[in-house]
């Protein structure tokens, strides 16, 4: 690996000298932020974060790119052209876990640092994967959001997706594990809205009738949280029942404004783009090595600790409330 890397580096350098014009570009660490498709608010925000990291690091040039629609073939064409440009690092949010592996392997063989973020690539196709958060962090966050507004304790209910939704079940499990940290908070029941707007709405109505003293509804699903907020508004219980959980700022802006939801959480794309760029820089410059157990710094976001699969969780889900909803509601 070491020899082939040096060999490729050598030929690349020779090509560079022949080309002449590229010499000044090489002073910068060129990091390509490859997204699922261009023109999506979430990824535009991530690019903003990448630029922020580049400004902090100084000698970084961010190439923000991606295909027109969310296909693996389109991303492979983009990756091929990045390999040809001999960029220093590729940070990709993949359209396909497996299909990008051959192209990314080729990139790594030619000495390019490859990481995935947001939507991952199979382990053999990248050096590390950056998850926006982790199940324990999400489980803790959803109960914390409810508890923070209930200093004297109270009754909360969970409105989930379906009984078989893997993600939601894991998050609720993780939440139950940390209930001891929130004395006075009692989870009275869990109901299922099947991720359908009307069923979630009816389930939320039912919760308020069955438990007249209910203080909060936790909906760890973007469909359920919007439906529950509407049910609270329609029942005239704004101020009595606080809706929280995981939701999208664009869909939740109304609920924050009306007061039906005081706060909710989801990943922050700006932080995600920022951290991905930072990690790519650390690996590309050789300051850090991606290995199980490694801790790789990512600027203001702290450090990423890698597990056995070379994956790591960035941070707690980001909390959105009336102070920042206007900024983010137009992003995603």
């Amino acid at each position: 690996m070491g020899i082939s890397r040096r060999l490729f580096g050598g030929t690349a350098l020779a090509a560079m000298m022949l080309a002449g014009g590229a010499a000044q570009a090489q002073d910068n660490v060129r990091i390509a932020l490859v997204v699922k498709a261009l023109g999506i608010g979430f990824f535009e925000a991530a690019a903003k974060g990448a630029e922020e990291a580049a400004a902090e690091l100084g000698n970084v040039e961010v190439i923000y790119t991606g295909p027109t629609d969310t296909t693996a073939e389109g991303q492979i064409e983009v990756i091929n052209s990045l390999i040809a440009q001999n960029v220093d690092a590729i940070a990709v949010s993949a359209n396909d876990t497996d299909a990008l592996v051959p192209a990314l392997k080729k990139a790594m063989q030619r000495g390019i640092t490859v990481i995935s973020w947001d939507s991952g690539v199979a382990p053999e196709g990248r050096q590390l994967h950056l998850n926006p958060s982790s199940n324990p962090l999400i489980g803790n966050m959803i109960i914390k959001l409810a508890a923070d507004n209930l200093p004297d304790g109270g009754e909360v209910a969970v409105l989930s997706a379906t009984t078989t939704s893997t993600n939601q079940n894991i998050w609720i499990d993780e939440m139950n594990k940390v209930m001891g940290d929130y004395p006075g908070i009692e989870v009275v029941t869990t109901v299922y809205g099947d991720d359908l707007a009307d069923k979630s709405y009816r389930e939320a109505q039912g919760l308020m009738q069955t438990y007249p003293d209910l203080d909060a509804i936790i909906a760890p699903t973007s469909v359920g949280i919007v439906a529950a907020a509407r049910a609270v508004e329609d029942a005239g219980k704004v101020g009595q029942v606080n809706v929280t959980g995981l939701g999208l700022p664009s869909e939740m802006a109304g609920a924050i404004e009306s007061g039906a939801s005081k706060s909710f959480a989801i990943w922050n794309p700006i932080d995600l783009g920022y951290s991905a760029t930072y990690l790519a820089y650390e690996l590309a410059t050789g300051d850090a090595e991606a290995a199980p157990g490694a801790e790789i710094p990512m600027g203001r976001m702290g450090a990423l600790t890698l597990d056995d699969n070379n994956e790591g969780a960035m941070a707690d889900p980001f909390v959105y409330d009336s102070s920042n909803i206007d900024e983010f509601k137009s992003i995603f």
Partner: protein, 333 residues
């Protein structure tokens, strides 16, 4: 020309062609397109320092080889006055069939056979609907476009087939010699094969005859339906070949594979000088068009031009190259 002939005393000389071969070549679509290709090549070399590099150019060929394989068969089909818009969906179905076979432990030869057979079956399905039932091919293949990919979606949902055997990767990732990939060699071989088929055989003459006037061709003893049936089979088969290459290159199958390729294939054919109304066109034209499209997308990719701008550029190129001869004719008058 007529003036000099009437003045001269020498015996009247009648040319067997209106223009000499040199003049014909100079005015040909292929030469114009070739000039465009060279111009793009030169422009790319100046625009990006990374363009003139054997490995990079080799990578660039993957942008068009698979599509071009289908474009050859599609060119014949369009010359005959028909069209097949289901080709990308045939790829999806072939790939799904191959992926399913892998789950049952099929080896590389079986996978390839299943891919080709599925392509042929899809082509036959289109062919029966068009030639036996007399339905318009554009309507039939818009229908089968949804049908074939729909089956893939039903089988796979949001899942994927993976676990293709290691030898299978050769078709899409292997190199025959240095930077010359297997796909590129296959592309070149097929180009020669289709050149011979269209320009050097009776079958090729029949395709032109049908495209110019199917009724007249029929009265001349050409079995129109049979020729068209074969052309649909060929298009299906080539989609199967492309599916093998693409699946091997990706190493996995998802129902969204090759999404939107039908339009890129048709663009390639039309850019290659094949009349969308049928009756004229050539394989060399399609080959050059494949290179033009590959070079343009790769060159713009090197400059990190966003994909949407690239599609605008390809669209303008298509309109420009097609409008140029018309403008030239208007200017001459």
């Amino acid at each position: 020309m007529t003036e000099t002939a009437s003045h001269g005393q020498a015996p009247r000389h009648i040319r067997d062609r209106l223009q000499g071969p040199g003049a014909r070549l100079l005015k040909s679509w292929e030469l114009l397109l070739f000039a465009v290709a060279v111009a793009i090549f030169v422009a790319n070399s100046f625009a990006s320092p990374y363009f003139l590099n054997a490995w990079n150019l080799s990578d660039a060929t993957f942008n068009f080889t698979e599509k071009a394989m289908i474009a050859f068969a599609m060119a014949l089909l369009i010359i005959s006055g028909e069209i097949d818009l289901s080709v990308a969906s045939i790829i999806a179905l072939c790939s799904t069939a191959m992926g399913a076979a892998v789950q049952y432990g099929a080896g590389t030869p079986e996978i390839v056979l299943i891919g080709l057979a599925t392509g042929l079956a899809c082509g036959a399905f289109n062919a029966v609907l068009v030639t036996k039932m007399g339905l318009p091919s554009i309507v039939v293949t818009i229908g089968t476009m949804s049908l074939f990919r729909g089956i893939s979606y039903i089988v796979l949902g949001d899942g994927a087939y993976r676990g293709y055997p290691a030898e299978f990767a050769y078709f899409g990732q292997g190199y025959v010699f240095w930077v010359i990939s297997f796909e590129f060699v296959l592309f070149a071989l097929l180009a020669v094969l289709y050149y011979v088929l269209l320009h050097r055989t009776n079958f090729g003459r029949m395709v032109y005859a049908i495209g110019n006037n199917a009724t007249a061709a029929s009265f001349s003893g050409i079995r129109v339906a049979r020729v068209k049936f074969i052309l649909f089979l060929l298009t299906g088969l080539m989609s199967g070949v492309a599916a093998i290459c693409l699946t091997s290159r990706l190493g996995s199958t998802r129902p969204s594979i090759a999404f939107g390729w039908e339009l890129e294939v048709v663009t390639m054919v039309v850019l290659g000088g094949v009349s969308i109304l049928g009756g004229s066109g050539s394989i060399p034209g399609v080959v050059i068009a494949a290179f033009v499209m590959g070079l343009v997308t790769f060159g713009l990719g090197l400059l990190n031009v966003p994909g949407i701008v690239m599609s605008i550029f390809i669209g303008l190129l298509l309109i420009g190259v097609i409008a140029l001869p018309r403008l030239w004719a208007m200017w001459r008058r």
